[in-house]
């Protein structure tokens, strides 16, 4: 397998900026206080028992982060972040922090769990109840044996699937080679913060020629107690391999941490394919005021390194107060393909600015973008996408379709496509529509006995079908339910 070439690095750097050499330091062991400093970065690395190179990498990122400006181009509005007022180590929360039992949890949240059919013990975990029944997150499995079978099967296939912390210890060569190769720490301020303080995430390596025998999911990974805040995921599909990866959970996740800054890097070699599906349903904040919702600032990027490499991003974004997320594809290998299928639903006071970047470098590279934005309540929903054709991308092709659906009179839908072509043989197509949900459609459904909220869910799922059908089966059914739940309170 080849390492990331100079050309790619140059392109990535061009998009991002560069960072300086680092250093090593001692491990400190005191309890992590609020705020961010070099000491905190050392503390995290120490807690994880990381090698020096990893700490050096984190510290480099931290120093870079101090200098970097906040990205301010997105159409989202929020007060400046106070980084010193947050916790950066996902230490077990002290007993006073969370709700003591489900009785203390917002009834609205419980109602939603009920609708999704989530078992009681799992509800406790999702709602962050303290002193809950002492079981690890493997209650998510029907039984522990499922997990065991699961692990054995993967081992047999030679697939490495573990937490990023384990990978740093057990597979340092792969991590050093690939981490930061697609999303360098200095890419943007949020990714840079993640590079300094990430505490969790997944690592996947699929060996040459292996078709991963099952869908991989964070939901099914053990040691997944503290998901979320600063996740870092690295997936490598070696030559001729295939993997489908599911991230997230349809159940609404309450989190005390307002700022989430995840990084996902995918590397796809010759003839390999990664299918990455996300359902995001973090707490969106108070319906009327937006207070308390999660800021979800995510950097996801795939590098189609080899010939005929293929990446497909599918996302269903329904949660978070603010979503800032652009899963992208760098199509470097000749004939490589990138796909982006997105459904973003905003309601209440939510703001979403999401889309993709398709960077065509190799010959005959193809990309396809299907974005379905649904705005309701007083929310704002923006599609922002870049299609860039570099001079050597002979015969590159892109198809983009952005459809927006408005529900009610107080929401906004915005489409911001950027197109840059530096090769005359490239063919680019862009289609965009904006429509309002029609009274005729709603009346037609209600006349058939379907109540208004269910009718809305039906119509919106129809609108989003082209994207939903790219989700793996087991996710799709739940995601459809989620669409309905996300739109509650937007009619009538």
């Amino acid at each position: 397998m080849s390492s990331v070439s100079k050309e790619t690095i140059a392109t990535v750097a061009d998009m991002a900026g560069r960072y300086e050499a680092g250093f090593v330091t001692d491990i400190e062991t005191e309890k992590a206080p609020k705020g961010l400093s070099e000491d905190i970065v050392r503390f995290i690395s120490g807690k994880k028992g990381e090698p020096d190179w990893m700490l050096g990498w984190r510290l480099k990122a931290y120093r870079k982060w101090l200098e970097m400006p906040e990205p301010e181009w997105a159409k989202v509005d929020f007060p400046p972040l106070d980084y010193q007022d947050a916790y950066y180590y996902a230490a077990p929360k002290s007993a006073g922090d969370g709700p003591k039992s489900l009785d203390d949890v917002d009834p609205k949240l419980l109602e939603t769990y009920e609708k999704l059919g989530i078992p009681l013990r799992e509800q406790e975990i999702l709602a962050g109840v303290q002193n809950r029944t002492p079981v690890a997150v493997d209650v998510v499995f029907d039984s522990v044996s499922v997990a065991t079978t699961f692990k054995e099967k993967l081992k047999e296939a030679g697939v490495i699937f573990c937490s990023i912390s384990e990978a740093i210890k057990n597979h340092p060569d792969l991590v050093q080679k690939y981490m930061g190769s697609v999303v360098p720490p200095g890419d943007n301020k949020h990714a840079c913060l993640n590079s300094a303080v990430f505490t969790d995430g997944s690592f996947v390596y699929i060996p040459p020629g292996v078709r991963c025998p099952m869908e991989l999911s964070t939901y099914f990974r053990i040691n997944e107690l503290n998901t979320g805040q600063f996740e870092r995921t690295l997936i490598i599909a070696d030559k001729g391999s295939y993997v489908s990866y599911l991230e997230g959970c349809t159940a609404p996740m309450r989190d005390e941490n307002q700022l989430h800054a995840a990084v996902v890097e995918l590397i796809v070699h010759d003839d390999a394919e990664i299918k990455y599906s996300t359902v995001q349903n973090w707490y969106p904040g108070d319906f009327e005021t937006g207070q308390g919702g999660v800021y979800n600032f995510v950097t996801k990027r795939a590098l189609c390194e080899g010939r005929n490499a293929k990446v497909s991003w599918t996302q269903v974004e329904t949660g978070s107060a603010i979503t800032w997320k652009y899963p992208s594809c760098i199509l470097k290998g000749d004939n490589s393909q990138g796909e982006f299928y997105s459904v973003a639903i905003t309601n209440g006071r939510q703001q979403a600015d999401t889309g993709t970047k398709m960077i065509h470098i190799g010959k005959n590279t193809k990309s396809r973008i299907i974005s379905k934005g649904i705005s309701a309540g007083r929310s704002n929903n923006t599609y922002r996408g870049l299609v860039k054709i570099l001079p050597k991308a002979e015969g590159a092709r892109n198809f983009t379709q952005c459809d927006s659906l408005l529900i009610g009179d107080h929401c906004g839908a915005h489409t911001v496509p950027y197109i840059e072509s530096r090769n005359k043989s490239a063919r680019l197509e862009h289609e965009a529509t904006t429509s309002k949900i029609s009274e005729d459609q709603l009346f037609y459904c209600t006349q058939r006995g379907i109540d208004e909220e269910e009718a809305l869910a039906l119509i919106v799922n129809g609108f989003a079908r082209e994207v939903m059908q790219h989700l793996p089966m087991e996710f799709a059914v739940e995601a459809q339910k989620l669409v309905g739940i996300s739109l509650e309170g937007s009619v009538g």
Binding site: Q441, F443, C445, T446, Q447, R448, I450, L458, I459, G462
Partner: protein
């Protein structure tokens, strides 16, 4: 069955509220088919929308009862569960929602409201297949999005299919004949006739007499300028075919 008394309804326009139904009284006993005929703009479609509970119309007076249940007090979906079905003049397209999903959702919504168990996927499939076969509808229509790309005939047949599957007590057919050629008209009429029974009634709204050759009404009403101006037997429809509506327009004016 259906009892309408002194029904008044208006619609909000830029120039304020405009009254369209100006005191309609009508009785359709169980098992009967009544036709409502009238010129364009007489309020025929408004009547069907008001019965079904469309929001745009405001009922300003009168009552509508279906087997003693006050319909005007109910939401549209509750009226559907109470047994009211409206076959639309212009069936609405719902992109991305296939017919079988739509039917499943509608049937189970109604069953739930009526206190019956929801049907599982297999039972549902069997019913849908059987109903399609009776109406000469190809199975693959069930895979297509609701009314999207349907021909005029397919759309109307689809309305009759839904009518058959939702098992209503009272069916309103709003200009079901519009846009149909004679063959399609026969298919639709056959579907409706097959549903006629002593405990089900129909209100067939039409501009032309043609449809009534195939769906024989017990009673024909003439609606003009928001009022029923004449009521008679099937022969009234023939009369209108010969003379037109001019006479009624003058009468009310």
């Amino acid at each position: 069955m259906l009892h309408i008394e002194d029904l008044h309804a208006s619609i909000e326009t830029d120039d304020g509220a405009r009254e369209i139904l100006k005191g309609i009284s009508l009785d359709v006993p169980a098992g009967q088919v009544h036709a409502i005929m009238g010129p364009n703009g007489s309020g025929k479609s408004t009547l069907s929308y008001v019965l079904a509970g469309r929001e745009d119309y405001e009922v300003t007076g009168g009552t509508v009862e279906l087997d003693g249940i006050d319909l005007l007090d109910l939401e549209p979906e509750e009226r559907a569960a109470a047994g009211l079905f409206l076959a639309f003049q212009y069936p609405v397209e719902i992109p991305g929602v296939n017919m079988s999903t739509f039917l499943k959702t509608a049937i189970n919504s109604i069953r739930k409201q009526r206190g019956a168990d929801e049907l599982d996927a297999l039972a549902m499939l069997k019913r849908i297949k059987a109903a399609c076969a009776r109406l000469g509808i190809a199975d693959d229509m069930m895979k297509r999005s609701v009314n999207v790309g349907f021909s005029g005939g397919e759309k109307k047949r689809n309305e009759v299919l839904q009518m058959a599957m939702l098992e209503p007590k009272f069916c309103v057919l709003d200009e079901t004949d519009s846009g149909l050629d004679i063959d399609a008209l026969k298919v639709v009429a056959d579907g409706v006739n097959a549903m006629r029974s002593p405990d089900r009634s129909f209100l067939v709204i039409t501009h032309y007499q043609r449809l009534l050759d195939y769906i024989r009404p017990d009673v024909v009403h003439v609606l003009a300028k928001g009022k029923i101006v004449k009521t008679g037997g099937p022969e009234l429809a023939k009369e209108l075919e010969a003379t037109g509506y001019a006479e009624f327009l003058d009468e009310v004016a």
